[in-house]
Amino acid sequence: MDMEEGPSKTPQNTRHETIQVGNTLLLKLPSGDIKTWKLEKDSTANLGKFGSFYANELVGQPFGLTYEIVDKKLKAVSPRTLQEVEDTEATNELINDGQFVQPLTSEEIEMLKKSGLHASEIIKKQIEQHANYSLKTEYSKEKYKKRKEAKYSKSFTVVDPTVFNVCDYWFNKDQNRLRDIRPDALGQILNLANIRPGGRYLAVDDASGIVVAGMLERLGGTGRLITVCDVDSPPAYPALVHMNFTKEVTQVLSSLNWATADEDYIPITPPSEPAGKIKSDAQKSRLNKRKAVSETLNQTREELFAGEFDGLVVASEYDPFSILQNLSPYLAGSANIVVHSPYIQIVTDLQNQLRNLPQYLGAAVTEMWLRRYQVLPGRTHPFMNMSGSGGFIMHTIKVYDPS
């Protein structure tokens, strides 16, 4: 093994290597649901019927592991293998049409649970009582076991908060809030917009901050990102919270709104100089804060208006043509412009509007298509249900209009 090749430097990261106090985690439950939970020091996490545990148990652990809850303590367990049956729609010609008969009453199950029996024991008991169990095919048996396991197992998995996983979580939770930005669409957007560490970008993200999350991760704490939003207060980008970014990563982000991003507008800022003499420390601190806010705003505006940005990403509920007309003057030549929309009509109309404008080169519309497969041994096939739409992307390159 030839180890002298490659760099010796320790790579930076956009978040801590292990789980920290203050992290907002995505916990995957045996039912398949994902719960979002903020790790507070010395607290107890409550996963409802899946149990509760001491939060501190997770501190310093790597992301991605599965834990069983035993007396509020956590025991990391080995990952599952492919022996399990996850297909819920396999044809089974030999099974009687109808439902499994529940062999134990819910009262009996409740009693067993209260007696502290382990999930696997409850399932075993149910199987023993299930008269028809031996008549089922192996697939059906596995299916049955799995379903029961999901119901009684006291365990969870800490989802590794990659951009892909965070986007996937939000998309599955409410794809409207993400404006249909599916993980494949986000990956596409980031590549087409040529996001790289050190680059300077503009973004309009009305998609819960998933675009900002992706861009910040790709910047990795170097470069610049200015977003423009539609509210007077700084925009909430709720998807960011699950990224657990370090301060270094988020400090490259500043935001303006559609008023403060207007060159001709002079924002009304409350005076940061005292009208009379300073009356209290509180007032002084407030005035200093105002001054800082005002200065930051002015700096950000100057930075925007100075232009020469490397790219623009738009995922907005507003007319994209009006956004491009407003922001493309601040783009450098050869900057990439990417507009995502859930609706094909919006991006095709946009491409049509850009067609004869000399400052936009090679406008093209593409649709995302994604298909996931079940890869269980002997039962490989695309999942029966698929996401219908990851939206549409219009990509173009800003060029200098010689006229």
Partner: protein, 395 residues
């Protein structure tokens, strides 16, 4: 098969359309009643009414449409019994297999009968369908249905394990459709059942790729040609007619006005507090603090410091935690509307309506792999002279 009369008669199978998601079959039985969500309908009231009519409930609060059955409506109305073939697959298979009036067809297994009905419609009274099913309960259910639907002359239903026992006809059919867990076991049997005097066809319906691979090998070994495989899907689109997207100039104007209002309010408050400065001490700061109302755009949002930097302080937990109901920017009144379409600023938008569409969020991503092949007619052992060939009937 089903009634082709203009009006509904007693004993007819009709399809009752309550809503798009509630479609159900109904055999008109005088004396019986249908209970809808919004009212009651007497079967006898439907007799003599033309197919395609809208019928009001007896209390006048609800209504239904009574439709003539089609294989597609029947499939839609079918209570889910086993994995049903989907209409895209059925249409594609029928087309590739060249199923038409007069065709003789084999299907195994019968399953839910969706394919059976579609084939029966296409082949008509001049054709014939041999349908085989291993599962006895399904056979009985299907036999009853086919009889009730007047398909006895067109469909011969047999309870049989065709992989083990083969089919009941020899050198007869134009096409074979296999929807079996192990179709490769029936391929040689299928070959026997197919006629040999013209090009015939086979389709194997298999959800998993591993089944396809074994089927392809079996078809190749049995001498089938033009082996190919397809997947077909129908992607439903949802259509919305909504106001055109607002221009950002509109948002900009709103923000500017809101800022101005806020400043005016602040100045007013300071003036007020100065006027009452003699009485109280700490008021000016308070007035300053409250800073007036936020713009309409931020209505319903959490109170926030006016620190421009707090967007950078997520680690400190100052931003809303995205729990089950995240309170982010679209968490206000706009959110429920947004589920239909983004329109948080539509009040001021122009009234121009645009039609937008997109694929439904979740669509059928897979039903089955459709493996097709041809069995070519036997080649005459010695090339016959055209003159000596079988006489061709002139029409």
């Amino acid at each position: 098969m089903w009634s082709t009369a203009r009006e509904i008669a007693a004993g007819d199978l009709v399809i009752v359309w309550l809503t798009r998601d509630a479609v159900q079959p109904l055999v008109i039985t005088p004396g019986k009643e249908l209970n809808g969500k919004y009212g009651v309908y007497r079967h006898s009231d439907l007799i003599g009414v033309p197919y395609g009519s809208k019928i009001g409930s007896r209390n006048g609060r609800g209504f239904i449409h009574v439709l003539r059955p089609t294989p597609e409506l029947w499939t839609l109305a079918l209570p889910h019994r086993t994995q049903i073939l989907y209409i895209a697959d059925i249409a594609f298979v029928s087309s590739w297999l060249n199923i038409k009036p007069g065709s003789r067809i084999i299907e195994a297994g019968t399953g839910s009968g969706s394919f059976t009905h579609s084939v029966a419609r296409a082949i008509g009274p001049a054709g014939h369908l041999w349908s085989y099913e291993f599962h006895e309960a399904r056979v009985n259910k299907a036999r009853e249905e086919f009889s009730c639907h007047g398909m006895d002359d067109i469909v011969t239903l047999t309870h049989r394990n065709v992989c083990k026992d083969g089919f009941t006809v020899l050198d007869t059919v134009d096409a074979v459709f296999l929807d079996l867990p192990m179709p490769w076991e029936a391929v040689e049997h299928a070959k026997k059942a197919l006629r040999k005097d013209r090009t015939t066809r086979i389709c194997c319906f298999s959800p998993c790729m591993e089944q396809v691979l074994r089927t392809v090998t079996a078809l190749n070994d049995a001498g089938f040609t033009d082996i190919t495989m397809y997947e077909t899907l129908l992607r439903p689109h949802q259509v919305d007619s909504v106001p055109a997207l607002p221009h950002i100039g509109q948002v900009s104007e709103k923000l500017k006005k809101a800022e101005q209002k806020r400043e005016e309010k602040r100045l007013r408050q300071i003036a007020n507090s100065r006027a009452s400065a003699a009485g109280k001490r700490k008021r000016p700061g308070d007035a300053d603090e409250s800073d007036g109302g936020r713009a309409e755009g931020s209505a319903g949002k959490r109170p926030k410091t006016d620190d421009e930097d707090d967007v950078l302080q997520h680690e400190d937990g100052q931003l809303p935690q995205a729990e089950n109901h995240p309170s982010g920017r679209s968490a206000g009144a706009a959110e429920t509307e947004e589920a239909k379409f983004p329109q948080s600023v539509t009040e001021s938008a122009t009234p121009t309506k645009t039609t937008f569409s997109k694929t439904f969020p979740e669509v059928r991503g897979h039903t089955s792999y459709l493996t097709f092949a041809c069995l070519l007619p036997a080649i005459p052992s010695a090339q016959a002279d055209p003159a000596t060939q079988e006489p061709v009937p002139s029409d």
